[in-house]
Symmetry: C2
Subunit: 334 residues, 2 copies
């Protein structure tokens, strides 16, 4: 194992002191041009690289780092969120260290944790395991629903998404435009995950909003193709459906494609509404109507919490829970 080249090695090689090397490297004031060149040459020859840890240690670590974990980076839902987070963090002078949970949440986290001050993300594992793997770091969870009243461990905070208002608004708008029979494609994710099916909050709010006008609900995979298949099944089993809420935009994209393939006019024959408000939804034809998560506000909330946590004594702070409202993004598909 090659020993690290330190500032002292360079100093000796150049025949000067540490301090002089430091001055040369940071092109500081108080060093003659000739010795600077001499030192730089020696550093070059030895392949010297200052240790960023030693440097940050002594410069009082002014920069804060935020660890962000998303489930998958191939999913536009997460990249959109990461984009907003990145912007909000940059605005407040935080650096973002990013990782994805695709191949081992715990391993990725244990690598990320020692490098950052706070961790935020979608994890899909329980608080207890999270605490073990994060080494006591404060954690901010981004939930896909309003945080339920679960007992949070200390040091665990969350920002949830309140979809009730958005769903109500969407149903009202659909009604105003003449929709009479409301269907929904629900996610099978929970079921696959927990074994037992439990209706999602989205479904509960939707059913409450449409009441008697519900035509049917079909469960599908959380993917474009899964959404397409489920949509086709829904239309076959409940042909009178003229408005559909898709569990998310990815599935809604599949539904639009599927409708096109089946010769079903959108939004003429059936109106399709997604959830998430992906920017990707603008790129398709017709552009996707969606109940949008305001990602910038989400990011703002996250950064608010993060800064509270970073402001010393985080350990004494009670779990913070916030939620961001959704809003209807009326585009072409409904």
């Amino acid at each position: 194992m090659a020993k690290r080249v330190t500032i002292i090695d360079v100093a000796e090689a150049a025949g000067v002191s540490r301090q002089t090397v430091s001055r040369a490297m940071n092109d500081a004031w108080g060093i003659s041009e000739s010795t600077r060149r001499k030192v730089l040459e020696a550093a070059d020859r030895l392949g010297y690289r200052p240790s960023r840890f030693a440097r940050n240690l002594v410069t009082r670590e002014k920069t804060h780092a935020l660890g962000v974990m998303v489930a998958s980076f191939g999913n536009p839902y997460y990249t959109d969120i990461a984009a907003s987070l990145l912007a909000a963090a940059a605005e407040r002078g935080w650096q973002i260290m990013l990782t994805a949970g695709e191949s081992g949440v715990e391993e990725a986290l244990s690598l990320l944790a020692p490098q950052v001050d706070v961790i935020v993300g979608h994890f899909g594992i329980a608080d207890e395991r999270l605490r073990d793997v994060c080494g006591g770091l404060p954690v901010v969870r981004m939930e896909s629903e309003v945080p339920h009243d679960a007992e949070r461990l200390p040091g665990f905070h969350s920002v949830g998404l309140d979809m009730q208002s958005g769903i109500q608004e969407a149903v009202k708008e659909l009604r105003d435009r003449g929709a009479r029979r409301f269907g929904m494609v629900e996610s099978g994710h929970f079921q696959r995950y927990f074994g037992t099916y439990e209706p999602s909050a989205r479904r509960r709010w939707y059913e409450e909003a449409v009441g008697e006008a519900l035509s049917g609900v079909v469960i599908g995979d959380e993917s474009i193709s899964g959404g397409g298949r489920a949509f086709a099944e829904l239309m076959e089993r409940h042909p009178d459906t003229d408005a559909v809420l898709m569990f998310n935009d990815l599935m809604a994209l599949g539904a639009v494609q599927s409708a096109h393939a089946l010769g079903i006019d959108v939004p003429g024959r059936v109106r399709i509404v997604g959830v998430d408000g992906l920017s990707l939804g603008e790129a398709v034809d017709p552009p996707l109507t969606s109940i949008a998560l305001d990602r910038d506000e989400l990011a703002r909330h996250v950064m608010d919490i993060v800064e509270i946590l970073a402001g010393a004594d985080f350990a004494r702070i009670d779990p913070i829970e916030r939620s961001v409202p959704s809003r209807l993004l009326w585009r072409g598909s409904a």
Copy 2:
């Protein structure tokens, strides 16, 4: 300015030594349950957080950090690349610290640089400025074309994209399928950037490949809508065009939408080919045919270089230049 709570403060508060506090925090072996609790309680009370820099300093900084800068995180081209980079980096045990250049490339870089070992990305600024702002860190550039023979500064490496083979392949395939008149929508980006227009490598390769069969070239904005407008203009000015190369997939998306709006059948009346191979291209209808950048291979090359650079003595390494080939991704739009 509140002084930092150190391990010594906790030790004094708990009436033990540093070492014991360290043991308690890292739940190491060799400490009784009662003292552990006592220490943890004291740490909690004081709001103690171990310094990640001091810790990493002594644990010999085994984890390497890669700084990644992309132009914009809202652009799927960059997020796709970031995704591949993230996967490749995770595979080799590197952490990724991400930033975007949207609001100030230099400022973002100067924040990023002290935190990482190598920097890679799309920058849009000259080597000289980059060197100043990165403090001598080695840099890997991702180029949108094959690295030209510019004089690279030492410490600057690059991976470029070789599009010639992909474009040739695409033109051949289009010919085989009956295309006779070839148009292109070119990017106006260079022109806006440098004032003076210079044909892109894509255009040069394309014109060389189609030869006499070129119907016309129109310049457009590098965006969905810009692509749509330019495509419409191309079809109006050169109505005999039956195959179009769009400068990139984003613009191609606009072209497909525009064609739809104009009642032009794709690919029946005109075949549309994009460049980049965005995963987003699969989500639209018809799915986008594209000359794809193999992002995983790009990421592999980048990580290869990065690991070479990290392996000591980087300063003595001559600029490395690599290029990744493109390949034709035949989907529905051509």
